[in-house]
Structure formats: C-alpha cells, structure tokens
Amino acid sequence: MKSYVYLILSVIALTGCSPSATIPTSFTETSDSLAIYPDYRDVTIPPNIAPLNFMVTDAAATEYVVTVGDLVCGAGKDGKIDMDSVAWREVLTDAKGKSLSVNVYAHRASGWVHYSPFTLDVAEEEIDPYLSYRLIEPGYELYRQLGIYQRNLTNFTEEPIYENNRTFSNEDNHCINCHNYQAYDTDRMLFHVRAGHGGTIIVHGKEARKIGIKHDSILTSGVYPSWHPTMPLVAFSTNKTGQVFHMYHPEKIEVLDEASDLLLYDAEKNTVRHIFHTKDNMETFPCWAPDGSRLFYCCAKMPASLLGEHTPMDLALRYDSLLYDIYSMPFDAETCTFGEPRLEVDASGIGRSTSVPRVSPDGRYLLYTLGDYGQFHIWHKSSDLYVKALESAPLSGDSEVRPMTGTQEEGIRPLTAANSPDADSYHTWSSNGRWILFVSRRLDHNYSRVFISYFDREGRDHKAFLLPQRDPEYNTLLLKSYNVPELTKRAVQVNIETLKHVIYHTDPDPATYQP
C-alpha cells in the first residue's frame, strides 16, 4: 500500500515539470544573476550520473523553461526542474568529454527573460554506479531509526541495505555503523551493530555472519575498518571514544579518543591480533594501499601532561591538544607482518591534525582531511580535504608523478576547488580514481550531504556538486545526515532479511585473539 502512496506522491511531484515545455521564441536577455539550488553551475559531471535536477528562484517568474543541450524541460512557479531520465542519458552520452550549455528562461509579467547560460562539463570517465551511506540524525548521544542505504547514482533509486528497528524497544534498539567493502566490490563487506544484538557483521556474497571482536587485551571492539584489497583481512582500529559538548564555542561537539590501537582481523580464520598496542600513541583510521603492500593510518601522541594518571575529563579539557599525523608501514602478505612505520604527513609539526587517509586506486595520491585538532573532523569547521602525491611509482602507469607545490610541504595541497569554509570530511575515491565523494556541512552547517568532485589526470580537483536528487528540495527537507559514503561497482548482494536474521537471531562468534 505504501508503494502506491509513494507512486501517487511521485506522480504529483512530477506534475511540477510542465509537459508542454518549448523554448520561448521571443525573450529578452537579463543581467540578473541566476539563483539555482543546488548550485550546479560550471561543474564537471560523470557521463552516467542521474539528472541534475535543480530549482530556479525568481520571485517575478511564474514558469520556467530550461535547456540542457537538446533536452528541454519546463517548471511551474516552484521552479523545480525535473528532467526526463532517458533524454538526459542520451544528452550525456553524446556530450562525453565535451561541455553542455544550460539555458534558463523565466516567464515574468513582462514576458520571457533569458539568463546567462552556464556549462556542465561531461567527463569521459564514469563514476561507480552504487553509493552506500548511513542516514542518521546529527544528534548528540541518542539515536533512534537509522539505516545503511544504497543509492544507484545513475538514477534516483535508493534502497536500504539494512535498517534498525523502527519501533522503539529497549531489547532491540541498536545502532549500525562503519560499513566497508573490499576493493569496491560487494562480495565482501562488513558493518558493526552496537548495543542490542551487538557484533560485527561480515558479509561474503549473499551470506552473512556475526562475529565478536572482544578480548581483555582489546580496548573495546573493532571500530574503523579497512578491508585488505585482495586478502580476507581487515585492519580495524579499536577506540575508547567519548564526547563532550561545548556550551559557548564556535564548534558544537567534540568526539575524542581516550585511547586507540590497531587490530588485524582474519575473516576466514576468525582470528584477531594487535598491530599496535601502545599506551602513549593513539593509532586510528587504518587504510590499505590499493595493492595491499602498505597500511596507512593516523597516529597522535598523548600529550605529555596526560601520560600519567588522568581522568577522562582531564583529557576532555585538552581536546584541542590531540594532533594526528599520518603514517604508513609495509605489509608482507606472505608472513602477514608489518615493517617500520614511515611518517607520511607531519600535521602536528605545523600545529594541525589529520584524519581518514585514503589512497587513490592508482596509488599516486593520498587523500585526507586536515583540521585544527582531533580526528573527528566532521564536527570541525576547519576541516578541509588535502592530497599528497605519494612517492611510489604510479600503478596505472599512464602519467608520471608530479609533485605538487603545497602550503606546508612539497607535494601536499588542499583541494581548493572542492573545499568549503565548513566541515568537509569523510571521503572516498571512485574505483577509477577520477571522482572523489565526500560529505560536507556547507549547505546549512549542520546536516552533512554528499558532494562529488572531479579529480583529473593532472591531479587537479574541480568544483564539487551536490549528489542529485529527484526533488531538488530533498536535502532541505531531509532531517538526517549522510555518513560514510562508499562507492561500489555493483549492488550489495546480501538481502535485508538475511541480515535481519543474523543480527536478531544469532550470537556473535567470538574471534580468537592471537597475542
């Protein structure tokens, strides 16, 4: 029944687009600046992306006509342009590697006016068709209904991979987080279940099982994961995390670790061991290099004043003294051992802090976020995306490494075109390395939304654009944030019923700890 209602609502929504849109034959040029939402002006887009529906605002206009190449679409007074998907696809296919001109006409009492056109550059390279993310209220301590969803980027279909209980229940309430895939494929994935029915869900094809990564020697359980690209191994951080709330400060919330280590989990043997088990250093956010030969991670040294006995509040009061650098270390797949760590990004040296290292699929670039302090940068306005050109030989071999001139260090620079004054954080590469997806709070400073930026072969970032939605107002009315955007080449295979069964009706299989 609900499907029918959505269908009816969709039909009602579609009526916003005038069916009889024709390009006005007579109009006057206007020098007024064009107000559209989302801002899709002069962006570079993948040739397989869903229609970039947008909304035009012109207080004096009663209807609109928009042309994108050969595609003509109209809108009523609400200004919502809902483009025909088939026509859009044809236009984009023809425009691969070229530019499209977008013309907007508005009908005012005095007649039709034409705004200065803007362009859409259509890249040659496609984006992976599936994007998964978690939708959750940007809350403080509590959570209620949330889920991990999968969006088909070539259209507007969004399906739940898993949703928690819809009806409040002390026994069944649970949180889900940290979904992760192996090498952009959905054959192996995982996510965590917290509170009721807790454990880590390991998915292999259409099968799923629940494991428990707990041991006296392990701080908490597995937290931030990274699948090894080829082996059945997962590097986890294990974090003792807390939160504090500002009463009078430009930032609102601080999420900080009291302690953290790194773990290596073998999904076939169900064994776990420490990679790092240190008291003075806090290691987190592991990330494998695309060939699995190195493991990147963030690490902060505990401030000297907190090395002895201290309370969580002592640490909380020093929340801005935790500065994370990025390290990497070689991994020997034969012996499953790690070599000596190497400092990759010395952020603490300049009084700043890194988070979420991600290596491009061709191995040439290290993408991360840089903020003033800490590691949970989605709550930090200072957080921006940075890239570092890595010294290793490019895996794709199609162009040489060009060290970039940076503000702090040779070969490091911010993604100036993609960044915003607000928090720009959790990011991922497309499997071809040409697209960067990340979440940003730039629209309203509170709700994180997915943005897409083209990263060209010369290592330049381009203006980021908002993940398109059928209704351009969707992001204004949605009261949830997007978390952890992850791209995959195909849809998740395991079905929601299997996941529900495993989560609700099986106990976690405890991983064997190997000292």
């Binding site: 209220e137 002390n170 709330f245 009463m247 629209l443 309203d444 209704d471 204004t476 009261l479």
Partner: protein
Amino acid sequence: MMRWLFTSLFFLLVWLWASWWMGDVMRIAYERSFIAADATLMHWLWQKSFGWLWILGRALLTLYRWPIVGGLFVAVMLTAGSWLIGVCLRLPQRWRWVRYLPSVCWMLWTAKEGLNLFYMNEPGRVLGVPFLVLVVLAMLAGIVGRLYQGGSAHRSGIENKQCSTSKVFTPSMIGRVGGESLLIFLCFSIPAFYLNYRHPYLRPLTKMQVQLLNDDYEGMSRTAHEHASIGCRQMAGYYAVALSRTGHLADQLFDIKLEFDSLHTYGFQGEPNECLNYHVIDCNFFAGLIRAARHYVVEDLTMSGPSLYNLKYMVKISLIEGDWALARKYLHVVRQAPFEGDFIEKYEPMVGHFDRVQADPELAAVIKVLPSYHTLEQMHVKPGFLGYYVDLKEFKTREALEWSTVACLYAKRMPSFLQRCRGYVGSMPPSSIAEGLLIKAYAEPSILQAFPQLELGISRYELFMQDAKPYLDDRERGGEVLFEKYKGYYPYYYLFGNMRSTRKPNDGEQEHNKAGVN
C-alpha cells in the same frame, strides 16, 4: 425530541470538555506534533507500524491550533460515534445510555494519560484512534442498516409513536429524562475529577505553556499562583521563566510549592520515568544556555521526530547564533506545516539581520544572559531546573547572576549561593536572596557585616524557626502545616520544600535515593 435533547446535551458537554477542560493540554499536544504534505518529512512516521493512522491523527490534531475548533471536532466525532453505536447495537430505550460509554472511556483514557498523550508518546494516537473507530462504526452502521432495512417501516412506526407520545411529559418520562441527563453529566464529571486527582498539575502546567507561546508572562505567574499548592518541578521551571521576564525571579520564586512528585509519565516503551526533560529545553533556552537547549532539542528531534516545538526552537537558536542557513532550513520545514504562517512571518525577516534578532524582546532577553566563557556541558550537574546555572561562575549581566543565584537557592547549594552573593554586596539583595543569606548569617556573622540590612529580617526568621521546630523530624507534615503561613519565605523552602524524602514516586518507579534535595 428527547433523543435530540440528550444528543445536544452530550454534544455540548463534550465540546466543553474538549475545548475548555482539555484545550490547553491538546494545544500543547499540537505543538509536540508535526504534519506536512511532504513525503520526505513524514517518512519517519509513515514507516512506523500504523504510521498512516498516526499521520491521520496528527492531521486532525492540527485543529487544536485553535482549541475551540479542535474541541468542536471532538464533540462532533464523539457525538456521531455515540449515535452510530446506538444504530449498530439497536439499543432499546432503557439501555440507550450504553452508547455513551466508549466516549467516556476515551475521556477517561485521556485523563489517565496526562502528559503521556504527547510526551515521549505518539501524539497522533489521541485523535487518530477514535476517528478510526468512528469510520468503522459508520461502516458497521451501514451494514446494520441494510440488514434491518425490511424492519425499518415497522421500527419507524414505533418511533413515530414514541415521538408523538413523547410530547406529553408524564412523571415517569420526567424521571427518565432527569436520570439520563444526570448520567450524561456524570460522564463528564468523572473523567474531570479523575484528571484532577491523577494529574493535578496537568491543566495549570499546559496553561502556562500556552501562555508562554503567547508571551503572556504575567499570565504564567498568575496561573502558578492560582495553583501554588500543586507545584511540580516542571511548573517551577516555567514559573521561573515567567518571573525572569517580569523581573521577580529573586523575590517570588518560592511563592509556590516546588515539589517533584511523580507526574505519572512513562518512556518510549512504557517504563515509568521522571519526566525530567519535559521543561529543560525551555528553561535552558530562556536561561541563555542555548547550546544546552540545542542539545536537548536535537535529542528530542532524534527520538520523537520533528515537532513544531523542537523545530521552532531550532529556528530561534539558529537566529541567536547567527546561523542563517540553518535558520532558513528549519523555517522552511516549519512552513510545510499548516497554520504556522504567523511564526514564519515573525521570524523569517530576522534571517540575515542580527539587529532584528536583538530587537525581538524574547530573543533579546536570551541574548542578555548568554554564557560569558567557554565551558563543557559535561562539567556541570545535569539540570533539573534552570539549566546549568547552578554551576556557572562568571556572568556578564546582572540578570545572569540572578539566574545563577536563584538556581543555587532552588538546589539548596549554599556554598555556591554564598559565592554568588558577593555580587550583591553594597546593595539590597532581592527578598529570596536576603532570606537565603539570613540562614547562613547565624553561622557566619561576617554576612551580617556585609549585608547589615538583613537584621530587619531576623525577628521573622526566629519566629519561623520556633514554628518549624516541632516539625523538624516530620518534614512532610511540616511542609503541609506551614505552607500557607510561610509560602514564599525561603527558609520554609529550605527546610520543608522540594525534598527527596517526601517525594511521591510513580507506580513501579525505582525507589529514589531518599537523601538530599532535588
């Protein structure tokens, strides 16, 4: 004719109940609800079990934007329901009163629920369920009507006969009319009595909330005074908000009882709770602790979904913080709800204009008491009254100092209170603060040196202590006996008011720590 007389009487009494007796309660239920035609906004509710019914109930609840209209709808619904029950059951004359029972049950249920009608519970239930019942009854009545169509001529003949004879008022008929009228009257007085017995605070509390919505701070104070002996923590909070706006926070707060007996509320899964967060958003907001208010608003938004209450606070907080983009977003969401044009009209022009925010009396009063230094929420005791003001130590305005000093008095935290009193040296402190100082002046004579004017109050204090002495081992009784004589006098509150040991807990609620104060 008699049938219509009873029906009209029933209709009028339901209207009275639903618009006057329960009007403020339902008005606040409306504020704690939200409905919009947008699928994105309603998705969270739609996906719940019976989501469609709750949406329907919320749509009907919007009529309580004006309680008299909402009450009228309830009267029509319950009267029609009673009539349909009569049709379905084909009740004989002497059993006709049975048709009123479901409506009375509904009224008793609303009286039993109290704040649970909307707090941590789905507000769409209160009208959604009876409306669904009405629809089912209408369908059943249609079926019954068809089934008995054959006998209708015979029946209408009987009824016509009854109608014709009913014009003659025989003694037995007068008795029957009186009996049925009395029965209908009882239908309303029992739920009303039950409501006042179970939730004596409910009507004054919600009335104060409605007055707050209308910026009627004098009215809030009046309501609190009219129900001074009821008092509860939530009323104390709203009363303090009103006094702060009328300039009487430090001399009238203790005029009402400030107990914290159970409000008989329960949580999302039916477990008894203390209703602790009911008023905390309002209190934190008006105390200038807008970040703490924001914290609880966001938690409410997460747990209960969007409501006019939490969305409007997000608008106001965003405006005070100068977060125009966020204010614009929440205004746009509120705009999706029907009948909220006034709110949009008032606050939308403030977006991007901080001078207009400062020109608004309510927001300006909040800005005046914003914190003056950085602190973390976790460093403070969780608020039960005026936000976190018992712990804050630096104040940039006299108003903020007063909030904090009074909060310490309320919490009976005398060392903290004395620290704040330094700000009053050289001036005549407000009466409650002076009375608080007097308690400590006996042990610390230096206080009298700093505040020589306190000596004027010594004789009254000594008289109070004489009166209080017999009850020091029975505080509960002392509180009752001495309230009328000493209400508003801080030493009375200090010794007999707001004590855990005299608190009446909820059924099934965990036993409280009997030590200490609130």
